[in-house]
């Protein structure tokens, strides 16, 4: 367990055993077996209301495989101490585990060096870190560009920054089928010489749209802007290579990628991170502190004030290792397959309207929709999710932390089903059947 040595993806064979229930030979591709994967997730054996749990809320938070929980347990039971400040054996073990986790995360996302990986408490904190530190250089009249499809956590930090600095907040609109409207943006000169920051989602948490990040990054860099990406819905589902992506800063969270809650990641190009001022002040982020002033540690520790989420980092590294062992390309392909199957079933339901792309092209595994009774009366998402929950089906209802996007589409709220590596066709069948039942339940009122 060295920080920078070791093979590209260590211990894949062990994890392949866990993932597929069979020993995989090094050169043989691991066959994607959804039933074997499900066996790694004990919670999926639960029943709800007498029916098997159908968990279709992974875009909200994913379930955890046994290996992740066991990695956290092992850390707490056998290696626990504070990092980087305890001079004893356990302190050394905890520090090594924490820094080794950072290196594994760096490899998982294709970072050039592990110092480019900053651990935060979640993606929201990572995005706030970006807004706060990049904001130090903003002047009144500078422009920040986001999009109308953002999660609130990629809207509010920039609104706060604009208020603090006098910068102007502008945004990409979306087309009727839920893609970023790049033509309109070009026509109105959205990105221009005043643009200092562009921050957009890689994959929309509502529409599922996969945005053309490299293209947006190129446009941003052409005017000298810093490009921030909210990859919270992308890293769990797509093979992400940050070095090739073209962005400058990439934020994501642990709990949506089969990892624990309480940890997020900010990746940044090292030279950029090294040029940014500190975010939170405290222990571990300093070099020398005097009563008159302080100097600060280099990245990543400059941005990690206080005791970091140590056990969570260990758990997140186990999650990254688990996903790598199965293969992000295979997970992506499964996600596309399940999403295409769900979209097909949903398109066949009269009264169901999909928000966003209705085909599984450049699209992630979250499908939001509105539902009406056969005579055209809208059924509120709360009522939809309650009826589905009575059949053991877990979905999300509301505006999914994206109120402006719902307003843009003229709906107050929506229901969202989201899929992951453990989702089966049978679960999609249960969803479609449950939606039919919901329509008839509220339809008989009329």
């Amino acid at each position: 367990m060295s920080v920078d040595g070791g093979p590209e993806y260590p211990a894949t064979t062990d994890l392949a055993d866990v993932a597929t229930g069979s020993v995989a030979l090094a050169d043989e591709p691991i066959i994607f077996d959804v039933e074997a994967i499900r066996a790694d997730f004990p919670i999926l054996e639960r029943t709800v209301a007498g029916a098997p749990l159908v968990y279709l809320d992974s875009a909200n938070s994913s379930q955890k495989p046994r290996v992740v929980v066991e990695a956290i347990e092992d850390h707490y039971l056998n290696h626990n101490a504070n990092v980087a400040r305890a001079m004893h054996l356990l302190g050394a073990e905890a520090t090594e585990a924490f820094e080794d986790s950072r290196a594994q995360l760096a490899r998982f996302i294709g970072a050039n060096r592990s110092e480019e990986v900053v651990f935060t408490k979640n993606a929201s904190e990572a995005l706030n870190l970006c807004a706060y530190t990049l904001g130090a250089a903003l002047r009144p009249g500078d422009e920040i560009v986001i999009s109308v499809m953002e999660h609130h956590s990629n809207i509010v930090p920039w609104q706060l920054l604009a208020q603090r600095t006098g910068a102007v907040l502008r945004w990409f609109d979306v087309t009727h089928d839920g893609r970023l409207d790049l033509d309109k943006a070009a026509a109105e000169g959205l990105v221009n010489e005043r643009t200092k920051i562009i921050s957009v989602a890689y994959v929309s948490n509502v529409l599922g749209t996969v945005n053309p990040i490299s293209q947006i990054a190129a446009v941003g860099h052409a005017v000298g802007a810093t490009v921030v990406i909210d990859a919270s819905q992308a890293v769990p589902q797509l093979a992400v290579d940050v070095a090739a992506l073209g962005a400058d800063l990439v934020a994501f969270t642990g709990h949506k990628m089969v990892g624990p809650t309480g940890i997020g990641v900010l990746w940044g190009r090292y030279e950029l991170l090294a040029a940014l001022p500190p975010f939170l002040g405290g222990g571990e982020m300093i070099e020398i502190v005097t009563m008159e002033g302080s100097t600060y540690a280099p990245p990543p520790h400059r941005f990690e004030a206080g005791t970091p989420p140590i056990a969570q980092a260990v758990g997140l590294a186990a999650a990254a290792q688990y996903l790598s062992a199965i293969g992000m390309d295979q997970i992506s392909a499964h996600e596309r397959d399940v999403t295409a199957y769900a979209l097909q079933g949903m398109r066949a339901l009269p009264g169901l309207k999909i928000l966003g792309p209705d085909e599984a092209v450049d699209r992630g595994g979250a499908v939001s929709f509105t539902l009406s009774t056969p005579d055209g009366q809208p059924i509120h998402p709360h009522d939809v999710s309650q009826l589905l929950d009575s059949r053991g089906i877990a979905v999300r209802a509301g505006h999914h932390c994206a109120r402006p996007l719902h307003e843009r589409f003229g709906v107050q709220s929506s229901t969202r089903a989201s899929f992951y590596l453990y989702t089966t066709h049978a679960e999609i069948d249960a969803l479609i059947e449950g939606l039919g039942y919901t329509m008839s339940f509220f339809g008989r009122l009329r």
């Binding site: 509120h380 998402p381 709360h382 009522d383 309650q386 009826l387 929950d389 009575s390 209802a397 509301g398 505006h399 109120r403 719902h406 107050q412 709220s413 339940f441 509220f442 009122l445 009329r446």
Partner: protein
């Protein structure tokens, strides 16, 4: 806990035909209450005549529970004394916070007792309360503006 405990016929009836719905003049106070987790909204107006609630009118965007609850609430509070209505609010609130442990008084809460089942679904308690808390807020504002 069955879903039928939640969606009782009385609730579904009120949802289908909402009583006293729509915004009306005259009024002494108007409030907007929202549930930030789901985006449900109730805009509600209260008109007082001395110590009597002479009208409650509202526009509600939301689920069946929140809309039906606003409808039942308007039925109960219109034409009664402010003090009596605020007492009803407290009684309804207590019932909703009881997790289904309290036997409600049908003489006073009438159709409102149908929401005792909703109290067993913690995620939906807010839905049942949004209209009632908007009413209470509007009454307090109307009184303070008068004094």
């Amino acid at each position: 806990m069955k879903v039928e405990d939640l969606y009782q016929e009385i609730i579904l009836d009120h949802y289908r035909t909402k009583h006293h719905s729509g915004l009306r003049e005259p009024y002494d106070a108007e409030v907007l209450h929202v549930n930030p987790t789901c985006g449900d909204e109730v805009r509600l107006r209260v008109h007082l005549d001395g110590n009597k609630v002479s009208d409650v009118s509202y526009e509600a965007l939301g689920c069946s529970i929140s809309q039906a609850s606003a409808s039942v609430m308007a039925d109960l509070v219109i034409g009664r004394d402010v003090a009596y209505d605020l007492g009803l609010y407290e009684e309804f609130l207590t019932m909703m916070q009881s997790k289904g442990q309290i036997e409600p008084d049908e003489e006073r809460l009438e159709d409102g007792i149908a929401f005792a089942g909703v109290a067993k679904f913690p995620a939906r308690v807010k839905c049942a309360l949004i209209g009632w808390s908007a009413f209470r807020d509007a009454v307090i504002r109307a009184q303070s503006e008068r004094s």
